[in-house]
Amino acid sequence: MTQSNRKKANWNILFLCWLVAGISATGSLFFSHVMEFAPCVLCWYQRIFLFPLIIILAAGLFPFDKSVVKYALPLAIIGWFTAAYHNLLYAGVIPESIQPCTQGVSCTEEYIELFGFISIPMLSLLSFSIIIAFLIILLRRTTQ
């Protein structure tokens, strides 16, 4: 009984992890396709590491496969570092190198400030953090 409860809990954790990735991807597509915010280069890199997570995590749900962590965690960690770098750039901690002006989008362009302080790069960092947290919890639970 406890064994089956444990299994259920593991599945739930992975499902929540997938849900966070799904909501983030939907939100990012909403920003670019509906609100027509052009994604900057760093946003594209974060998307590259976010979008496959939806497929990989979903594949790990049916049937539940604990080794999904092994494949998903590297993506999430690289995505997290990209998001962290983007936030530092956005906040002005790292200066954006002097580049000639192009029609492309600057990575420090301000699009939205939810509640006055939540920016898009911050949302990205938040979702990668939650995904990593869930994956690590799952890893600990399954390797005991």
């Binding site: 499902f15 849900l19 799904g22 939907t26 597509l29 909403f30 396709h33 027509e36």
Partner: protein, 218 residues
């Protein structure tokens, strides 16, 4: 089985949230711009803007364009045809959104040609010869000069007039208005201040038709 259900419902939920969110957002945006149009008509039509069609027309078709934009060139016959088939009812207003690298060079030539009364001729030549000078991987703006004589313009005067600081100012004004109106792509169309919701020739025709019907009920 239950897990499949939870997963499937979540997928549907995400897709629904996206769809509902988009239609809500687009409705809000249309309201906002429509309101702006009444209050700030000059955002859409500036005194310097090139226009085609009768001053008495009740349907204003505003196009934010870029001489180096392929889609603008492709849309130009359609736009002209709409004006010709509805004589006196549609007025075309051209605004500049030179998003392509170096495209303001061609806007300057156009504005210089305007001083000689050869605006539409020059624009026609530009659109027609665009593939020769505006290729994306290798733009060669200087090549436009070999085609300009087709428009019947005085080349020396163009070279002199295109550096007029007033032209640069006018481009800045148009770009500022494009930003205010959330134009990020060219061509960006507005009909009587209403933005084209989804891009396409059919959608543009529909929007113009609905405005024609609203303003000319008979």
């Amino acid at each position: 089985m239950k897990t499949h259900l939870i997963f499937g419902l979540s997928v549907i939920g995400l897709i629904l949230a996206f769809a509902v969110g988009s239609s809500y957002y687009k409705g809000k945006q249309a309201e906002k711009i429509g309101f702006l149009a009444q209050e700030n008509a000059e955002l859409f039509v500036r005194d310097h803007s090139q226009t085609m069609g009768s001053d008495d027309a009740k349907v204003y078709l505003i196009e934010f364009m870029d001489p180096a934009c392929e889609t603008c060139a492709a849309f130009s016959p359609l736009v002209k045809q709409m004006i010709v088939t509805n004589p006196g009812k549609i007025k075309l207003v051209l605004r500049y959104a030179p998003f392509h690298d170096g495209a303001d060079y061609f806007v300057k030539i156009l504005e210089a040609a305007k001083k000689q009364g050869k605006y539409w001729e020059t624009l026609n030549v530009m659109y027609k010869t665009q593939p020769y000078w505006a290729s994306h991987h290798n733009p060669q703006p200087q090549r436009i000069w070999q085609f300009l004589p087709q428009a019947g313009v005085d080349m020396e005067r163009i070279r002199k007039d295109m550096n007029d600081p007033a032209i640069a100012k006018l481009i800045d004004q148009d770009l500022a208005d494009a930003k205010t109106l959330n134009v990020r792509k060219t061509p960006g169309f507005f009909v009587n201040g209403k933005p084209l919701q989804t891009f396409g020739s059919k959608q543009l025709l529909q929007l113009v038709q609905s405005e024609l019907k609203a303003n000319y009920p008979n």
